[in-house]
Every structure is written in structure tokens, then in C-alpha cells.
Amino acid sequence: MVLALIIDGPLTPEFEARALLAHADQWRLLAHDGTIGATLRFEGVVRRAERDPEAADVERDLLALDYQTYDPMAQRGLEALAASVAERHGLRSIVALHSRGRVGVGEVSFVLEVAAPHRVETLAAVADFIDRLKQDVPIWKRAVWAG
């Protein structure tokens, strides 16, 4: 199962459950077929302190990050990346969710969940996906500074 979605605002468990509902049967089947030995879930969270590139890279306090996506290229890029990482690492499943718009400090802007026969594949896939996300998928972030 390969699923990639760009979603407005922060990623909450409720929102994610709703977004994945259409795929719940597929997921349940997969979870019980006995081929999965490891799942790994990464969440990217907005931190309070960020370096300000316009102020000598000193750390400043954030209120939020604003994520800008180039649509539909970002959506298609996220899907293509998920499919490519799934194939390269022999994943049984990959779900990638990314926020568009404002995500506050402590909120989740990115979720990646992979399942594979063994742990090494899941660890390599998550590292690989995030590296390539930060190179090839047209999503930008802008700091909303506090004060």
C-alpha cells in the first residue's frame, strides 16, 4: 500500500484517522498477513527555537511554520517518492502525510509510516525518504516569528 497526501494545517491523530479511513480495510489485511516484521513511524514536529537566516543565524522563538507547496507538483512528487522508496527498500506499506499552511510549535507537520519484513529496511527507508523529500519535493517553509 502506497499513500501520500498533502493536508491543510497540522497533522492530528483525528485528522489522520479520517484521511486513512478509506484505506482501513487494505491496511487491516496487510497487518494480518504475517509478512510484516517491523513498522517505523516518524513524526516531524515544529520546534520553538529556529535559526533566523536573516539575523545572522541566531536562534529566535517561533510561533509557527508556514508550509508553502507547489501544487500539484508537490503532491505528485510526494507520491512518486513514496512509490520509489517502497520499491527500493522492499516495503510492504508506506504512508506519507505532509502539512500545507500554518503549523504551530509542538504540532506535527510531517508523518511517515513504513512497514517491512525486517527493521533494517524500515530504518533505511525512513532516512532515505526524508533526505530525498528535502531535496526534491517542492515544499518550502517560512518562519512565523514570535514578537
Binding site: 516531524g44 537566516p53 508550509y67 508553502q68 507547489y70 500539484p72 507538483m73 508537490a74 505528485r76 505532509h98 507537520s109 510531517f110 526524508i130 523529500l133 528535502k134 531535496q135 526534491d136 519535493v137 517542492p138 515544499i139 518550502w140 517553509k141 517560512r142
Partner: protein, 84 residues
């Protein structure tokens, strides 16, 4: 001809706009449009990699340097991205 180039991220915030226009010869290549961006929009330079390594998306796909831009193509400058 004129080519309109969509811009994003720091480039867009700095220029306070989401698109710029460059004046180029007819049927320019991606490389020529990148060079024109450098020459004609110095305010964008901080966000631009050297023209040889810059990246344009043409109609929502990354384009090779020698690809020709046709009238009506959607052209976007993909500066350093920062998802995740």
C-alpha cells in the same frame, strides 16, 4: 519572448511576489531562462544556485538544462526546498 517564472519560498518572500518575468530569445532552453533570472532579477540572487545547477520545473516536472520552453508552458523556479 517573455517567460513568466513562478517563485516560492525565500525567493518569493524576498521579492514580495509569486512570479517574475524574464525577457529571452524565442524557444529558450531551461539553462537560458536560469541565466536570464540571474541577470534580470539580481534581488533573487540570494535564493538562486549558480545557473548551471539551478532547477526549473516545466509543467510540474523537473526539466533538463537543454529542454526548450514553449509558449504556454508553466515554468517554476525550484529553489532549495525544506519540507518535513
Amino acid at each position: 519572448m517573455q517567460v513568466e517564472v513562478l517563485i516560492f519560498g525565500a525567493a518569493s518572500f524576498g521579492a514580495k511576489t509569486d512570479r517574475v518575468t524574464v525577457e529571452v530569445s524565442a524557444a529558450p532552453t531551461v539553462r537560458e531562462v536560469l541565466a536570464a533570472l540571474h541577470a534580470q532579477h539580481p534581488a533573487l540572487k540570494f535564493a538562486l544556485p549558480p545557473p548551471a545547477s539551478g532547477r526549473l520545473a516545466v509543467n510540474h516536472s523537473f526539466a533538463r538544462g537543454d529542454q526548450a520552453i514553449r509558449p504556454g508552458d508553466e515554468v517554476a523556479l525550484i529553489t532549495l526546498v525544506g519540507g518535513g
